[in-house]
Symmetry: C2
Subunit: 419 residues, 2 copies
Amino acid sequence: MSGDLKRDMHALGAAARDAARALRESSNDTRSEALRVAASALRARAPEILAANAEDLKAAAHSSAAMLDRLTLNEISVEAIACGLEAIAALPDPLARTLAHWKQPNGLDISRVATPIGVIGMIYESRPNVTADAAALCIKSGNAVILRGGSDSLRSSRAIHAAMLDGLQAAGLPGACVQLAQTTDRAAVGEMLQGLNGAIDLIIPRGGKSLVARVQAEARVPVLAHLEGICHVYVHAAAKLEMARAVVLNAKMRRTGVCGAAETLLIDRAVLSSHGVSILNDLKNAGCEIRGDEAVRSVFPSAKLANDEDWRTEYLDAVIAVKSVDGVEEAIRHIETYGSHHTESIVTGDAAVAERFLAALDSAIVLWNASTQFADGGEFGMGAEIGIGTGKLHARGPVGVEQLTTFKYIVRGTGQTRP
Amino acid sequence: MSGDLKRDMHALGAAARDAARALRESSNDTRSEALRVAASALRARAPEILAANAEDLKAAAHSSAAMLDRLTLNEISVEAIACGLEAIAALPDPLARTLAHWKQPNGLDISRVATPIGVIGMIYESRPNVTADAAALCIKSGNAVILRGGSDSLRSSRAIHAAMLDGLQAAGLPGACVQLAQTTDRAAVGEMLQGLNGAIDLIIPRGGKSLVARVQAEARVPVLAHLEGICHVYVHAAAKLEMARAVVLNAKMRRTGVCGAAETLLIDRAVLSSHGVSILNDLKNAGCEIRGDEAVRSVFPSAKLANDEDWRTEYLDAVIAVKSVDGVEEAIRHIETYGSHHTESIVTGDAAVAERFLAALDSAIVLWNASTQFADGGEFGMGAEIGIGTGKLHARGPVGVEQLTTFKYIVRGTGQTRP
């Protein structure tokens, strides 16, 4: 049985490798056409997609409300998925990029050109829309993808996958450009993390911390991911009060379950009474629980006492940890100690302090006078994202179609030999 | 004892992390000054470096000639190392680069700027010069480095390391920017491959295939490397004979032990008699063993018969495998089947065929009418290289100071919140 699984998964890998070659040699018109036809097919297949989703929901009836929310599709969300495919189709060709070009004194003409990565392994949880989004981003960037979604959404994902296959077929691309691991056996994930006999170039996990942690611990191939987003907003003494109120409230409360949501607020002691109280009142009135240090509690007594664990916690909920600091250097030290290198924002009218904060922090995204919730490929103008990376290699921050490419060097000569 | 080793290695990791922070905040002038002073210190310390090297050589007296050759330093090679440091010091600041910059419709000003990777773990064999070269490339690019060279060269490496420390001290940088794992215990490598408790961001192995294979198999952090360089030269029917002769001879025989040396020659059947015989005579006269397929042997009877294993072999020696093909598509298929995605060259006067070859191959470097021995950071104009990558993520091809950087996004706003 486990031998069968291994064989089946390796067959997916081999087929993906062949499909990747076809994609690498395809034109942007062909890849975009596949996405546009898939969008039409999604609309046409909406009834069967929703029927499959209803079966998934019935089987998952015992699950948490948050889980059911992630799993649920309706006519509006299917239309949104179709529009997403069309938007990705309309993006500029990420493979038509010469990243650098120069000539050597010996006449060699060297260019660095974008190329697809190859085969992506996408491991995600129960959001069925990821099946279409990830497939579309991979196709557009010339990569084959093997999708392994959560078992709870398998029926929905199959129905969406059928629409993607319609698009590939219409464009004359192999169906194996987008393959869905059809098994609910969790060992399939383990096989993918081993790389399917060298077939997978990159694993992208998308889901909760335990999924990402397992992938990072077990993968034998490169992984692009973020484990958590412990994002900070630092309100500096020279912050304008109204701007600080708006940015903090938005950073924490616009959506609390996204990785770019602020989890810790740092406030200069000098403005704890003048700014802090208003900001914390806004948060409290919006339904947010406040956990502060002693200084924070002295001006805002209804706050609970925060402990060391709070500074390390990604709540993904209406809770915020609030710490008083003495200036930008202490803020930087706190973030470097407790942060997750995801996204941090400073609110200040002092440009020199802002530039110090922006330069010193080693996070994927650092902002000045803007909400951490802008940590998103769409908001960055990338069209769409497959995830956000906080590692140091390849892409950091939002991962869109350009970040799903690598490069090679093309060298044109006239018979040069090396002395 | 093994607990001590773990503790010692983790201490190196923690010190490197602190040093990386200091480097990240240092100026290019400071980092370059450290390299220039280190170059002077190398020259001043040449007698003690050569004395240490003599001890290493004495202890390694039983080793192979090739190994002794790699290990041996003399006054000329010490001067060359010092000049290398000065050349790296003179390179443009790889951290002073804005890689992209744009404005969003909502006024957010987004820039992608180069930043250091952090802490590099360098694992290499017995070439003592790597101690200086790798340290210099890491310092210049703002990265701390932990060096673990071969036990055979430990005395030489210590003496060179002392000169690097002189440079760091003179520039006011922490000595922990460049640390040498002083133990000869092989378990130290295992500790580094585990990442030293999250301290190491990237491992770069440099050495033979067995070292790189071990690193790739065991590392729990990203690795930048190439396992082997099975490089091809394809002589197309429209190749000019004299150019083909010069390029093939240089690609194979200029230096046979480097990763960019050609290992397999592909020749169109149509020119096997006209071109092939001359090319193979050149190789044979230069002392190269020829292993060919039946068609090759029919025009060049002194060739041994090649078998399937030859197409997969990186000889790193004066041996070449020669295969006849029917045109560019067969050449591409052969390279995709047997190659290692390192470096391949086509010799042809037909531009359309050349462009097909350059576009279709998924290798880090593809050349037209030039020797594969140009696969080198110096020859690419990068100043120096720490190695060559054949993976898909981050950097492919020569890895110089720019490739030793990553990036972050800096977003400047005026109080924007996300709708």
